[in-house]
Structure formats: C-alpha cells, structure tokens
C-alpha cells in the first residue's frame, strides 16, 4: 500500500513538473515571437487594417467607361462691400446653389446641388482662384446625391481671402456602358496561365527523372543486388571509360552532322537511314532467349553489332534533333499566330540535343560498366580463391584510385588548385591503399551488397536536395537563367524530382513481393520482372502522387515569383510592395480560384485512377 502511494505521488509530481515545463516553453515562445496584443489594438493599426481589408474586398477586376460632371459656382471670401450679382443657373444642366453667395474664412456655409444624376458620389472642392479651371483645388468634403439627383451639404470655407471671385467645384463620375476587364485583370490572367504551365512543366520534368531514380531508392529492389568485389571493381573501372567513350561518340557524331545543319531534308534522310540500320543491327544482335546461348566468335560478333547499332541509333537521334530544330524554326516563321508551335518543336529538339550527350555518356558508362561487371563476376566464379584475392586487390586498388582521382580533379577544379600532387597523385595513392584494404578486409568470393550502397547514396542525395526549399532554389536558378518563368520551372522541377522520387520509392517498397518472385521464377530478366511485376503495382499510386505534386507545384508556383521565378507571384509581390492592394486582391483571388480548382480536379482524377 505504502509503495503504491509513493508511486502515485511520484507520478503526480512528474505530471506537475511536465505542466510547468510546458508552460515555460510557451512563455519563451511568446517572448521570441514578440506576441504583442497592445500593438494589435492600436488605433493606427486598426485603421490601416480596415483600409487594407476594404481594398482587398474590392478586387480590381472590372472597369467602366465613365462620364464626368464638373459643376462650378462662384463665391466670394470674404463677402464684398456691394451685394454680388449671381447669374441664374441653367436648369437643364446640373447646378449648385449657395444661398449665402459669400462667407468669411473658416465659416461654415450651406451648398445645395440640383439636377445631378441620382445616387452618385463625388468630391467638392474650393478653387482659390478667379480661373475656375485652375489646377489647385482644395477638397472640402464629399457629396452624395439622393434619388432625385439633389444634395445639401455644409462645408467649411478655407482661409483664402481674396477680392476676386472664387469658385466651388463638384466633380461626379458615373459609370456608363457595360463593364469590361480592367488592365489588372488582363495582366493577372496572363500570369495565372503562365503559372499553371510553369507547374505543369515542372511536374513533367520531375516525373520523368524521378521514376527511374525511385527504383534506385527502393530498398526492396536494391537489397538483393549483390556482386563480388571483382565485378564491382571492373564495373567501376568500366563506367568512367564508358562515359568517356560515350562523350567522344557524341562529339564525333555532332561534328559529323554539323556539315548539314540547316538542311532539314538531309537530316531527315540521315535520321531514317541510321534508325533503320541501328534497328536492324540490334534486332540481329540482341540475344534472343528462344535460341540456345551462342558460341564465342558469334557472341563477340553480336557484341560488336550491338555497339555499331547503338552508335547508329545515336546518330539517328542527333540527326532527328537537328532536323527538328530546322523544321521548328521554319514553322515558327510561317505559322503566324501559331508560331509558338514551331517554336515548341525547335525548343524541344534543342532540349533533345542538350540531353542526348549526357544520355549517350551514361549509356556508354552503363554498357562498359555492365560488361566489366559480367567479366568480373565470371572471373570470380571460375578462378581459384587465391587468384581471385590477388585480382581483387589489384582491381579494387585501380578502381578506387581512379574514382578518387576524379574526385580530386573535381575538387581541384572547384577550388582552383593548380598543384597536381594534391589534386591527382595523393588522392589516387590514398584511393589505391583504400582499395587494397577493401580487398584484404573482404573474403575473396563474398558477394558485397552494392545495391544497398547505391540505395544509400541515392537516398542521401535525394534527402539533401529535398531539404532545400524550392523558393531558395529559384534564387539560384534566377542567377543561372535570368528572371522569368524558366527559372521557376528549373527550381520547382528539381525539387519535384527529389520529393517525387522519395514518395515513389516508398510506394515501390510497399508492393507485394509475391508477384516479383513468381515472375522471376519464370526465367524473366530483371528488366522484365520490373515491367511485369513491379510497374502494374505502382502505376496507380504513381499517378496519384504525380497529381498531388502538380497540385503542390501550382501552389508553389504562385509564390515562386517572389524570388523572381516568374508566374503570378511576380505580379503579386510587386503590387503588395506598391501598396496597390486592390490589384493584389485580384491576384490573390486568381490564386485561390486556381488552387481550389486544381485541388478539386486532382481529387476527382485520383479517385478515377486509383
């Protein structure tokens, strides 16, 4: 019983302490976030708040043609010695009546108006001059006519004594005709369209790159990818060689094609010819599993044909992009108001040219790296353990040395270090030692979890990129490509790649393993397994996440303009800074409409697909 009491006492003490701790935390929070309700209640703050709220409540969307009535009445300040002659008003026009005709400075006098349009408002001025159209006019108040177009008001005369006649002026405006969209509304429309397409392009770019990335970031696909050290080392050596080879091929092909730049017919012919050649060669060369494995000479010949076929395809693609640029430009100059279509073709072909070089380099790397991996695995399987151990030492030393050499070269380039000993020799030497150490520490034929290494690296990079907010990326992109929506596309696209790849990879991780097992058991290749067992399972969540991301990107693109990234945010921040709240209100309204519509559309489409 005693013990129980002690425990409950301790428990309530702990609870009390926790409550005090929470209170302290919130008190400090109030302190650092400068919560100040006195400021909040201040008269001046209230006034500006009300002013801004009223401006925001009247978005500047429509405008009218306006008819303006300016009506004068003469007045003397102070009253002259002789009585004054006032000409009788013209009753067919709006007119003012001042019963007193004159007054002392600062005296309150009554002003009446007749024949005005009904129910309109306008300012009333005192013109301290004998010329009624003088620029200087002192506003004395506002008038509002009743339903008969009549008003009576009292104004205070200013301290402007003069012997000459002076004037009172009333200006009223009336909307005439149909409302039309204001300039602000038109600008907002242009920019909101830009915003939607900015989001569309960023999402598309993000999706294209993040789908393949997501496979590398999925633990369940990568954890079984294992390879012995011999294979890994040879693959690691093959990759840079292959990338170099790919770059060389791309450069050669481009110089070869450059002589026909601008001649679209020849480019088209080259495209068709090389595409056919490449397809035929590959058709023969790709191993067809219906046959038994080839003998050695035929196998070599097939590899050679594969390479030639791939190079022919590279040529064909470069020719296509070259032809596309020419065709697009000529279309753009002939299509008139549809020139943007031609421009699109040209830009797309240009993008293709830009992307082809790294793609060819990567393909070259993958090809040689793959061959290296296969040879390495074969040696590992066939050679005795002692020989494998020796080979491992040699190859992994070479591989790690090469990689760290490249790393050193990159650091040397970045920090402009000119000393070769620091950028190449020492890193390579250290790498070689590390490689040998690696070979000593692992058993010679042990398969290493290279898949998990790739998984970890991919994840780390994705997390790092994701942690940088798109708005900050936009600042960098603006430096790179200049202010405008393209910078926004790049910034949002990059952020989308990182976030979608993570979301996608989590979907891949949650798929059922059974179908993968079943398809593997039929003798399918790894790629076939992914296409038949993984992709059908992930398509619905992928579509759903892509829609969701588009939704997010539309929302993000409305503010990416704050950092110069184009879209409607650019206009919005300008108007806020100019205190032009009615225009800002128009833009906020547009954002709200677009975001709500996207939200609704994406939920409808997700329901349909999933």
């Amino acid at each position: 019983m005693e013990k129980k009491n002690k425990a409950s006492l301790w428990k309530s003490l702990r609870l009390g302490f926790a409550i005090v701790a929470v209170l302290v935390v919130y008190a400090y929070g109030f302190q650092v976030t400068k919560v100040d309700l006195a400021e909040f209640r201040k008269e001046s703050r209230q006034d500006s708040r009300i002013r801004v709220m009223r401006a925001l409540a009247r978005p500047d969307i429509f405008e009218y043609d306006q008819e303006e009535f300016i009506v004068f009445a003469s007045i003397y300040v102070p009253c002259p010695d002789q009585p004054v002659q006032i000409p009788p008003p013209d009753p067919s026009q709006p007119y003012l009546v001042i019963p007193a005709h004159c007054g002392k400075p600062n005296e309150h006098i009554q002003v009446e108006g007749y024949n005005f349009p009904p129910n309109i408002k306008g300012p009333i001025f005192f013109v301290p001059s004998s010329d009624p159209n003088a620029t200087l006019a002192l506003q004395r108040g506002n008038i509002e006519t009743d339903s008969q177009g009549k008003f009576i008001t009292t104004i205070r005369l200013p301290n402007r004594p003069s012997n000459e006649v002076q004037y009172l002026k009333v200006i009223t405006r009336r909307n005439v005709g149909w409302p039309r969209f204001s300039q602000t509304a038109k600008d907002t429309w242009d920019k909101i369209i830009e915003t939607i397409f900015l989001a569309l392009l960023a999402t598309t770019i993000g999706t294209i790159f993040s789908v393949p990335l997501s496979f590398f970031a999925a633990r369940n696909l990568m954890k079984d990818v294992k390879s012995p050290l011999t294979g890994i080392s040879l693959a690691a050596l093959g990759w840079p060689l292959g990338i170099g080879f790919g770059l060389a091929v791309a450069r050669l092909v481009q110089t070869f094609l450059a002589q026909w730049r601008g001649q679209s017919l020849i480019s088209w012919l080259l495209f068709v010819g090389f595409a056919l050649l490449g397809m035929l060669l590959l058709r023969w060369a790709v191993f067809d599993p219906r046959h038994e494995p080839d003998e050695r000479p035929l196998k070599l010949l097939r590899s050679l044909a594969q390479m030639t076929g791939l190079i022919a395809l590279v040529l064909a693609f470069f020719a296509l992009s070259q032809a596309g640029v020419t065709v697009g430009l000529s279309l753009a100059s002939h299509l008139g108001s549809f020139a943007f279509l031609g421009n699109f073709v040209a830009q797309l072909s240009d993008v293709m040219t830009v992307l082809l070089t790294p793609a060819v380099a990567l393909a070259g790397g993958a090809w040689l790296g793959g061959i290296g991996g296969q040879i390495g695995t074969k040696w590992n399987d066939t050679l005795p353990a002692g020989a494998v151990r020796f080979l491992n030492g040699l190859l992994s030393a070479l591989a790690v040395a090469t990689l760290s050499g490249f790393l050193g070269w990159g650091i040397g380039w970045l920090y402009e270090i000119k000393n070769v000993a620091y950028t190449l020799v020492y890193p390579a030497g250290a790498g070689a030692l590390l490689g040998i150490l690696l070979a000593i520490l692992t058993r010679p034929k042990q398969p290493l979890p290279i898949g998990l290494v790739i998984y970890t690296i991919t994840r780390t990079i994705l997390n790092a990129v994701r942690s940088i907010e798109a708005l900050i990326m936009a600042i960098v992109a603006v430096i790179w490509v200049g202010i405008g929506p393209f910078a926004g596309v790049l910034a949002l696209g990059l952020h989308t790649i990182a976030s979608l790849a993570k979301l996608y990879s989590e979907q891949v991780e949650s798929i059922l393993p059974g179908p993968i097992e079943a398809i593997t058991a039929t003798g399918a290749t790894r790629l076939q397994t992914i296409v038949y067992a993984v992709i059908p399972q992930i398509i619905p969540p992928y579509i759903s996440f892509t829609m969701y991301r588009w939704d997010i990107n539309v929302r993000m693109s409305t503010i990416i303009g704050f950092a110069g990234g184009g879209g409607i945010g650019f206009l919005l921040i300008q108007n806020i800074n100019l205190l032009n709240y009615r225009a800002a209100s128009t833009q906020m309204l547009a954002i709200a409409v677009v975001v709500a519509t996207m939200d609704y559309l994406s939920s409808v489409m997700r329901e349909r697909f999933v």
């Binding site: 590959l282 790709v286 067809d288 599993p289 219906r290 038994e292 494995p293 074969k378 399987d381 059922l512 059974g514 179908p515 097992e517 079943a518 398809i519 593997t520 058991a521 039929t522 003798g523 399918a524 290749t525 790629l527 076939q528 296409v531 038949y532 067992a533 059908p536 399972q537 398509i539 619905p540």
Partner: protein
C-alpha cells in the same frame, strides 16, 4: 531426373532452414513434401530454382548443376520449371491473360515483351491454357476480380505457359477450401499424368498426400525425416514428422 545433394540453407542471422537434405526425383514423379510450418518446405522448393540462394550443396537437374549456373544459364533453366504459390502471386492489377502470358517471358524477344507485345501464337496458347483450367471466359478480366480458386487456376495456367518439365508447387491449396483444393490438385495430377511433368508439391493434409502423391518426403526442422510411399506413414512415422503432440485427423 532431379537430384538434390546435401542441400543446406542458413539464413542471415544463423537460422538453419535446411540441413544437408538429399533426395532424388525421377522424371514424371509426383512428389509430396510434408512437414510442419517452418520445417523448410518452402525454402527447399525455392532453393531448387534458386529464388533462394542455397548456402551449400547441389541441385542437379537433367545432368546440369543448377547451383553453379551463371545468371543467364539460370534463366534458361528457370523457364523450364513452373512454379505455383500458396498466395497465387498474381499481379492483381493486370488482366488474367497478361498474368498467364507472363509465364512466357523467358521465351520471348525481350525488347517486345517490355512493350507488352506477345505473338499471336503465345496469346492463342495462353487462351488454350485458360481453357484447360476451365476459366477461358475470365481471360480479359482483372486478376483481382477472380475468386481464390480461379486465381490459383490462373497461377497453374501461368506455369503451363512455360511448357515446364517440372512444376514446383508451394502449398498450392493451403488457402483454399477442401472442394477447391481437390479440383486444383486434380489439375496438377492431370498435368503430371498426361504431360509427364515432374511435380514437387508441398502439402499440409495427409489425405491429399495419400490421394495424389507417388512418393513423399518429410521435413522436420530442416532435416529430412522420412522418404517413401504415402502408405508407409504409420502412427510412429507421423509422430516423427509432426512431433509428439500431434494427432492424426482424417
């Protein structure tokens, strides 16, 4: 002829799932594998086509050592070994016909297959297999619209697409009711008798073993504890296989 020699599997973490298991299966035999859950039946079947990499030992099939085959050779071997699973392992979002055709993946041109293109003959063959297991009318429905028994028939049709010389069936009827279980087992029996396909089938119920199997092996904790005809399992053998507490039912 399938020969398993000293097959051992130690999982990461040191669990001994198979302990020097050796046996032989002549071509065309219906072999039942029995044992408690966790006795190593699934591991044994998966080690034969190396869905699980055995730690030691050899699997020799038609004179070829599967355990030392290269990845490419392994795929050529796997495409002659059909597999049927307890949970059917269909791709539920794909159509039935696609599921069946995926059994053909080892035989088709890899480039075309990635675009979901199959030859007319293969599609015809797939329809024939579905006809054979009695669900030709379901060919163009999604796999998840089918009932359990129908799904397992799709699984069998997929295995048949491989023109298999051997079928590994991992508790093919464990998640079906007794009536469906018999109908599925009859299809396997038919494939065994008519086409001469070797069948290795792990089973829970002894009455199914008596009814369908030519021969039985039994595993207990990764050890081969019995090898013989179904009729030879008497009470004493039964207790050796299933443990002292077990009682025979049915």
């Amino acid at each position: 002829m399938l020969e398993v020699r000293n097959l051992t599997k130690i999982y990461e973490g040191g669990v001994l799932a198979l302990n020097r298991v050796s046996f032989q299966v002549p071509q065309g035999q219906f072999l039942a594998i029995i044992g408690l859950s966790g006795s190593g039946k699934s591991t044994l079947l998966r080690c034969i086509n190396r869905l699980i990499e055995p730690t030691e030992g050899q699997v020799i099939w038609k004179g070829v050592d599967i355990t030392s085959a290269s990845p490419q050779e392994l795929r050529l071997i796997r495409r002659r070994i059909g597999m049927v699973f307890q949970n059917f392992n269909l791709v539920y979002r794909s159509k039935v016909i696609t599921n069946v055709l995926s059994g053909r993946l080892g035989f088709v041109n890899p480039a075309w297959s990635l675009l979901n293109r199959f030859s007319k003959e293969d599609v015809q063959k797939a329809l024939q297999q579905l006809e054979r297991v009695g669900i030709a009318d379901k060919a163009y429905q999604r796999a998840d619209e089918l009932s359990g028994g129908q799904q397992q028939r799709v699984g069998i049709a997929r295995a048949l697409m491989q023109d298999p010389e051997m079928i590994l069936a991992d508790e093919p009827v464990a998640s079906l009711d007794p009536v469906l279980a018999h109908s599925i087992m009859r299809y396997l029996e038919q494939i065994n008798k008519e086409d001469g396909v070797t069948i290795l089938c792990s089973l829970h119920f002894l009455d199914l073993v008596h009814r369908y199997a030519d021969r039985v092996i039994a595993l207990n904790n990764g050890n081969l504890v019995f090898e013989g005809l179904p009729q030879e399992i008497d009470d004493q053998k039964f207790k050796a296989i299933y443990g002292r507490e077990a009682e025979r039912i049915g």
